[in-house]
Symmetry: C2
Subunit: 259 residues, 2 copies
C-alpha cells in the first residue's frame, strides 16, 4: 500500500505512488492532479509520469492528461487469480446469462472489499454502480456477504466493529443482525440481498470453492427488485457455482473452510 | 519500451523493467528468472521486486515466485480504450455469441500487433492459442488484417517489408497478395481468414469505426473450418460491428479513414 508522503521514500515507491494515483472515477489525471494526490513536487511528478508514459504504463491524451495505458492493462491480465478463475468460470457465466438474461458477476476478496473480476451485463437489467475492476462493500452486497462469511474470524470481527455504511435505507448495519446472516451464509453458502446497496436492485450470490475447500470467489446474479423471483434464480446460481468449484478441484466430499 | 541494460538507466526505469518482464506464458517468475530477463544484479532485482510486492503490483507465491498482483489488474481496467470500448461493445458481443455460439472477440492495434481486449468463448468452438490481453499477428488473422488495412501507409509498408511469419501452410506471406487483400479489406471493411494462424480455425472479421471515421478496433467470429458457412456468419458480424460503431458516434454519412 502507498506510504505517506515522507521525504525518505524511494524513487521506486514514488513511481508506484504516481501509478496508483489512478482510481475508478479518477482515471484521467493532469500533472496538477498528480501533484495534489501524491504530495510530491511538480518536477518529480512530471519526470515520473513521463517515464511511465515512455514504458506505455501511462498514455498521454491530447489535452495533456494522463490515463492508464494499454500495456499496463495487458500486464494486468496476467494476474493469475483473475486469469485462471475467469477463464474457468466464463462458460458458466455465459450459460447463466443465457438462462436468466440478468447481470452475472464474479468477485474476489481483496482486503475488506470485494473486487468484481468478471461481469456479463444484460441491457434490460438495472444499471449498476460499479464495473469490472471496481470494488463493492462486504456488508451489503451478495458477493460481499458470501466472501465476508468465509473470510475468517479476524476479517468478520474487523468489518463488524468498523464503520458499516448505510448505502440505502434497507442496508443491514446492525452487527448482531449481520452476525446472524453470516452464520446462515456459512451454512448455505448463499446470500440474498434486497436493495441494500442500491434501492430497487437485488442480488443472489453463492460461493466458489477450490479443491482445498477454500472459498476463492463469489458468483452472483443481480436483478431488478420484483423482476424475477429469487427462489427461481437461486438454484441456477448454486448449480453454476458448484460447476465452477468442481473445475477448481472441489467435490462434494471436500469440507468448506470458514477461514 | 524497455531500454537495454545500460548502467545509466534510472531507478524508475529499472522498476518498470522488472514489472514488464512478466509476459503471457511467462507469468510466474523467480528472482533468478527476473535477473536473467532484466540483466540487473540480484540484489537490485530483489529490492525492486519486494517494493513492487509491497504495493500489491506483484504477488509472491508460496514457492517464492512472483506473479502480477490483483491491484495491478484493477489498475489496468482503468485503461480508457479498453474500458469504454469493452463496455459499449459487450451487449453486441453477447448477442452475437447467443446467435452463433462461436468465439467472438474484439481487438485493437498496438504497435505492429493486434491485442485481444475482449472475448466470449464457446465451449464447443475450437481451442484458441491466445487469450484476452494476448497478441495476434496482423498479417494472418481476421482482426489483424482489418486493423492493418486501416492502419495507414507507414504501418502497411513496415509490416509488408518486415518478416511475414508462416504460422501454417495456409498463411499468406507474399507481400503482393497481402497488398491485394488489404485493398479489398479497405473496400469492404471485412476480412475472412482460413487456417492462416492455426490449421482448422477460420475467422471472419469486421472493422469498428468511431465518429471521426477512424477504425479503432476489429470484431471477429472464430470458427472451426467447415463448421459454419462464412457467408452465413458475415452479415451478423458486419451488423454487430456497425452497431458498436454507431454507439461510438459513427453514422452512414461518416467517411472511413484509412490511416
Amino acid at each position: 500500500m502507498p506510504r505517506t508522503s515522507e521525504p525518505g521514500r524511494t524513487v521506486g515507491s514514488r513511481l508506484l505512488e504516481v501509478l496508483f494515483a489512478f482510481q475508478p472515477g479518477n482515471s484521467a489525471l493532469s500533472l496538477a492532479d498528480l501533484v495534489r494526490t501524491t504530495g510530491m513536487p511538480h518536477a518529480t511528478v512530471r519526470r515520473l509520469a513521463v517515464e511511465l508514459a515512455d514504458f506505455g504504463a501511462l498514455d498521454r491524451r491530447p489535452d495533456g492528461r494522463f490515463t492508464v495505458g494499454l500495456r499496463l492493462w495487458q500486464l494486468g491480465t496476467l494476474a493469475p487469480l483473475t486469469e485462471s478463475l475467469r477463464t474457468l468460470a466464463q462458460p458458466f457465466l455465459e450459460d447463466l446469462y443465457t438462462a436468466l438474461h440478468q447481470h452475472v458477476q464474479l468477485a474476489v476478496l481483496e482486503g475488506q472489499e470485494a473486487v468484481i473480476i468478471e461481469r456479463l451485463s444484460a441491457s434490460e437489467a438495472p444499471e449498476l454502480v460499479s464495473q469490472v475492476g471496481g470494488r463493492l462493500p462486504l456488508h451489503c452486497t451478495g458477493v460481499g456477504k458470501v466472501l465476508l462469511s468465509h473470510g475468517g474470524t479476524e476479517l468478520i470481527e474487523s468489518v463488524l466493529s468498523g464503520e458499516l455504511r448505510e448505502y440505502s435505507s434497507r442496508s443491514i448495519v446492525a452487527p448482531e443482525v449481520l452476525r446472524k446472516e453470516i452464520a446462515g451464509c456459512r451454512r448455505t453458502g448463499t446470500a440474498t440481498v434486497r436493495g441494500e446497496l442500491t434501492p430497487g436492485t437485488d442480488s443472489v450470490a453463492t460461493r466458489i470453492v477450490n479443491g482445498e475447500g477454500r472459498v476463492v470467489a463469489a458468483l452472483s446474479v443481480v436483478v431488478r427488485t420484483d423482476s424475477v423471483k429469487h427462489p427461481a434464480v437461486l438454484p441456477s446460481v448454486i448449480a453454476s457455482g458448484l460447476g465452477i468449484s468442481r473445475l477448481l478441484g472441489w467435490s462434494p466430499g471436500v469440507k468448506v473452510r470458514h477461514s
